[in-house]
Symmetry: C2
């Protein structure tokens, strides 16, 4: 469905002009903001959904127990039993060429993974026990990446002094503290962090990890917090921001105790993240370059303002591992993309500032078939297995559910012939194409970064679960909740670049961001 | 504020005529139904509320962790520290005379206690540990009275056969099974019910209970399920209804397994309860004799459709112990009201059918000051202590919050002089009157059953948390969820009398109900 490059650029130019006019008139800006968000938020049936992973029919448990993952559409067991073999399908994801995004920087996947890891938390169990029905999500954007998933975990991570999180000062600034310590028997989890992660999650991530990885691992909110350079980078930036804000509040409110300083700084930090997600991150994803805003109180006036419940489709459609390019360069040192994994050592070598700059100045991979690195293929394989175990209906079934006309043919879907032929040989009929493959097979314009249904489904789940955050509620969003100082910080924050500049030696915002900087 | 009896009865007659006209025109009925419900549902700020019992200021935990009770208004510590002594105030509740309700039958408090015990679950701890901040509520009308509070508890109560709950057939019909059994060391909790209640709750209720009480105790969903004859009666009726429905479904769907039969019967039973709550119970409470309806999908179109969160004020305002009259008569046997407590033996003597009839044919007590039986005074004392520990603001502060003009004087509040003088001597100024006393001091007409603010607050919390039940959602309320048979049962149920007639030897609905039958 990709347009020719000339018409696409004329269209893009016209859209930019229109957007400038709209943004110049604040009430019009808010109106269009609301209309755009609602277009996606109302694209499919609202929660509560009749089905969840608790049972193939409607049960009280399935309607209320959010430890079971939600689902947009009910099981289609008959359909999934007729699908081509897993191996034959998985192969379509494998990278054949180092294709890059049009203008998406490597900072984008760094943020995307870190952000989504916090609420897309399918429960992990050893393969024999894995049922995919359960999740460990809090179903909220709560910055559990730095605060931990529950009250007990949060306490372990707090300095319990000055409202701050535990941290250490190294040569190049503030960092989380170490998770492990040297003992007579070798590296061991520090006693103060016993129980920070569930035993299953801890063993999954750290069993078999090298001593170097453990030595460099930081005590952060999630077990995956040290798994990639991107996760570590974001944790460092937001930990610094939290402690910086706690300091600002402590100065302004000498009578506040640690608890109040901590809770207020956390309220502020969560809203900073929400503002970045809507106004920077989703704006980059959106097919139209429109400055979306997280307007407090807006969502409450809409019918989609419902209790959050992460669906299994949301967890799966976010498997954007294609964004990790074949090679990555920091400080002139080029390595295979796999070097991003469990490698805080490389982050120390290059330095936080350099990585922020370099990640903003190199392209991410392109989302689509044939572009998943070898080392990430097991994730795609596992995802497809999960989609089938959950008996998700076909790609066209989801198109219909999200109010779109079904794809008429494989060419119609992909906008080209080679992939279309490959998929046709696998599935025969476009109506039999499976959803997890279809969303990555969608053709899209140069100005976009993913296809039509994928964009709609991301936006639907994102808007209806980010903008329902209680901190954005009209009765909550005020100086009592954030303090005057906190409100000023919120008002002064529009992008991830703002947080980076406040917490590194970098000063030039124009060199930082999700859109490639040169 | 009570009117003279003549004008009151003319007014009542006019209202009845108007209601008849409205109900005769279904779209008008639905319109007025919605308007009436909305009047109460929008009476105060919507959830999410900035404050909860987690902290005196807004915290992430306080906005998201529903194990902390909600609260409508923030702490007023300065105010509560100036209040008259607890003892001097508690005395105003003590029964001085056996005052009865105008037309409310004893069946009403039987149902009210049983119903509210399921979601007003302030966490109980031994006095030294009690903090009133936590609750054990599921925040939903989920019939946990017969199903238990969680999946594990539900399994203990299920027969795991035919979709039924465990039950026994006695001479006079079906009953839950016994909770205790005879052992060499005396009566002991049956092994199959180990963990049915938390240790704290179990010890609280059964430590010190007589052997007779234990011997007669049934295995039901809540620890308080055997604490009064009313609770036991309702548990028996709804267990019978569940098993009856499971039987209907099993006959219609011979291919369904126990699990599907159970879950579907539960879906149906919960909606029966919701229909009875809105269309029978609240209709009886309402100042206007209007047939309210739980219209599926209606609430979703309203801004008050928000995640449930039981507030501490809701738990306290429901302390309607005044409804228990000085004496109770079953089968010609008149006893002190306290004989209703821990007395399944009396229920066996009189029989389920007789109690349904007799409870419908005798008056409940009148809600108001000076009408709490001695044996229930500790509850009022504890409630006032709780209200103060929670630092609830004044009666007039709540009037303002619920959009009402503040009471101008004690006479204005009570509509008479004696109580007004007593309260004035305690509090001095009407603006210093505490809320928990004020809601019971309100004067009201003969046609009503409680005062103005109390009615509004009950209705606000009830409507906004009952009609948000996921089973009433448009996408859920259908034959897939309930089966055709289940839908037919739902359609055929408007009142508690319907459930009684289906599950006892009684056949005359006109002899059964919350309004006194003669």
């Amino acid at each position: 469905m990709a347009e020719t490059s000339f018409f696409a650029s004329v269209k893009a130019w016209l859209i930019r002009i229109a957007v400038k006019i709209v943004v110049a008139i604040p009430p019009l800006h808010r109106y269009v903001n609301r209309r755009l968000i609602n277009r996606f938020a109302y694209a499919a049936g609202l929660r509560p959904r009749p089905f969840s992973m608790a049972a193939p029919y409607t049960t009280w448990r399935g309607l209320t127990d959010r430890r079971y993952s939600g689902r947009h559409l009910p099981e289609a067991r008959g359909y999934t039993s007729r699908l081509p073999s897993l191996e034959s399908v998985t192969a379509v994801f494998q990278r054949t060429d180092d294709r890059r995004a049009t203008d998406t920087s490597l900072l984008f996947p760094f943020f995307a993974q870190w952000f989504t890891d916090s609420f897309l938390r399918t429960q992990w169990k050893p393969p024999a026990e894995q049922d995919f029905a359960h999740n460990e999500s809090n179903h909220e954007i709560d910055l559990c990446q730095i605060y931990g998933v529950s009250e007990a975990q949060t306490r372990m991570l707090r300095a319990l002094e000055g409202g701050r999180l535990k941290s250490q000062i190294r040569d190049d600034g503030e960092f989380p503290v170490a998770l492990f310590e040297e003992t007579a028997e070798g590296l061991a989890l520090k006693a103060e962090f016993e129980g920070l992660y569930t035993p299953d999650n801890f063993h999954r991530v750290f069993d078999g990890a090298t001593d170097e990885h453990k030595k460099n691992a930081f005590a952060v909110g999630l077990e995956h917090g040290n798994s990639t350079i991107g996760n570590t980078l974001m944790n460092i930036l937001f930990l610094r921001e939290h402690n910086r804000i706690a300091g600002v509040l402590a100065k302004a409110h000498p009578d506040w105790d640690d608890e109040r300083l901590f809770q207020t700084a956390r309220n502020v930090c969560i809203v900073l993240l929400l503002k970045i997600v809507i106004g920077d991150y989703i704006v980059h994803i959106a097919p139209i370059p429109f400055p979306l805003m997280a307007v407090p109180g807006m969502a409450e006036r809409e019918r989609w303002y419902r209790t959050n419940w992460i669906a299994v489709e949301f967890a799966l459609l976010y498997r954007w591992h294609d964004l990790i390019p074949a090679t990555v360069t920091f400080n002139g040192d080029t390595r295979d993309g796999s070097a991003l994994r469990r490698n805080n050592a490389w982050l120390f070598d290059a330095g936080v500032d350099r990585i922020c700059l370099d990640a903003s100045a190199q392209l991410a991979g392109r989302i689509g078939l044939g572009n998943t690195a070898d080392f990430l293929m097991p994730v795609k394989d596992h995802s497809l297995h999960m989609a089938r175990t959950c008996a998700l209906p076909s790609y066209n079934a989801y198109r219909r559910h999200f109010g779109k006309s079904p794809a008429a043919s494989f060419e119609d879907l992909t906008g080209e012939r080679d992939w279309a032929a490959k998929l046709k040989s696998l599935y025969g009929s476009i109506d039999d194409l499976e959803w997890f493959v279809g969303i990555f097979a969608e053709g899209y314009d140069e100005t976009d970064m993913m296809g039509d249904l994928l964009t709609t489904m991301v936006a639907n789940d994102a808007f209806t679960q980010a903008l329902t955050n209680p901190l954005l509620a009209e009765a909550v969003y005020n100086a009592d909740t954030f303090s005057q100082e906190g409100l000023a910080i919120i008002d002064a924050t529009d992008s991830l670049a703002d947080v980076i500049v406040r917490n590194t030696g970098l000063t030039d915002r124009t060199k930082l961001g999700f859109t490639l900087k040169t």
